[in-house]
Amino acid sequence: MKGTLLSLASFFGLLSLLSFGGGNTVLPQMHQQAVESQHWMTDPEFAAAFAIAQAAPGPGMLIVSLIGLKAAGWPGALIATVAMFLPCCILTYLATIGWGRFHESPWGRAVERGLAPVALGLIFASGVIIAKGSDHGWAAYCVTAFSALVFTKTKVNPLILIAAAAGAGAMGWL
């Protein structure tokens, strides 16, 4: 038990500082560790943990809490969560302090202005990548396109469409 907690802490603590490009980039490494090398959980359990963390409110990276939970119960969940979130938060805090001074300078303005279109391109790309990765059928693509249109043009509460799509999915229509 103590050994498991220790390896949860060291694995996720390291991963926290290595996950350049966001949490999803380290999912393959997480899968490798949790399923293949440490046998903390089975393959279907990993997939379900991913789906739960994605669908639940809040950051999808809470999948690490579920891996910790399965590996070592409640203490495991706590250790994995803190190990994944604390190191990168401290780094971001320090970077923000530096950014605050830099961002008012002419170069800071240029960085702010110049990176905006790149970020926008990445937003569109991530939508497409997630759709491609989650074996979207044609019906699901229609739902995605329809909801993108609705959310862009109207102020309808997304929860309504999400609930409807969950219902349609449960009925096997998607």
Partner: protein, 201 residues
């Protein structure tokens, strides 16, 4: 509206109470049921609270992408720090994570103890389809003003194509298109300098 746009994230106007930061992030977290966390973050931070302009939001998000760690966690810490220093960061993080953590762990322990229903998987994928649409709609809402800036539009398209069709890693994308964008913004000053894009687009 145009008055407030002129603020461009001037957060020194008065200290924002910590509970407002925590509560705003709790709201973001609660609304992101089914996904689309960054879309909800923009909705609350840019449109409702006006803590950042669209441009500041995008560049802050890019900064948080450059740093290691989950983007939205980093963004919460970044925004919280900008608003109220480390206390603000802690408040944002607490608001974002506390309630979802309890929910995820409850759902997870139920799932691990009682086996899964096939209908649950299908329901989850239906929710995912809408969540992806929500993410895309965030891009569509912001993109309007960029049509008046051909260079920015080209950078955006290049980023998209390189990521989707050529599977460039993020480091390369930012190295090429990010530096081009920064250099262009610094030296290609022919573009009219605008304040924040109008939310109505």
């Amino acid at each position: 509206m145009s008055e407030a746009d002129g603020r461009t994230g001037d957060v020194s106007a008065g200290p924002i109470p910590l509970w407002v930061i925590a509560f705003s992030y709790l709201k973001i977290a609660a609304e992101s049921f089914g996904g689309g966390l960054s879309a909800w973050t923009r909705q609350v931070v840019v449109e409702e609270r006006r803590w950042l302009t669209d441009e500041e939001f995008l560049s802050a998000m890019t900064l948080c992408r450059l740093l290691p760690g989950p983007n939205q966690i980093n963004f919460a810490v970044h925004l919280g720090t900008r608003l109220r220093g480390w206390r603000g960061a802690a408040a944002a993080l607490f608001g974002l994570v506390a309630v979802p953590l309890i929910l995820v762990l409850t759902a997870g322990s139920l799932y691990f103890n009682y086996h899964k229903l096939p209908a649950m998987d299908s329901a989850l994928s239906g929710m995912a389809a809408v969540a992806i649409g929500l993410t895309l709609s965030m891009g569509f809402k912001i993109v309007g003003p960029f049509f008046k800036r051909p260079a920015a539009l080209a950078l955006m398209a290049g980023t998209f194509v390189a990521t989707i069709f050529f599977s460039w890693p993020l480091v390369l994308v930012l190295g090429v298109f990010g530096s081009l964008g920064i250099l262009f913004a610094k030296f290609g000053v022919s573009e009219p300098r605008k304040k924040a894009p109008e939310p109505s687009g």
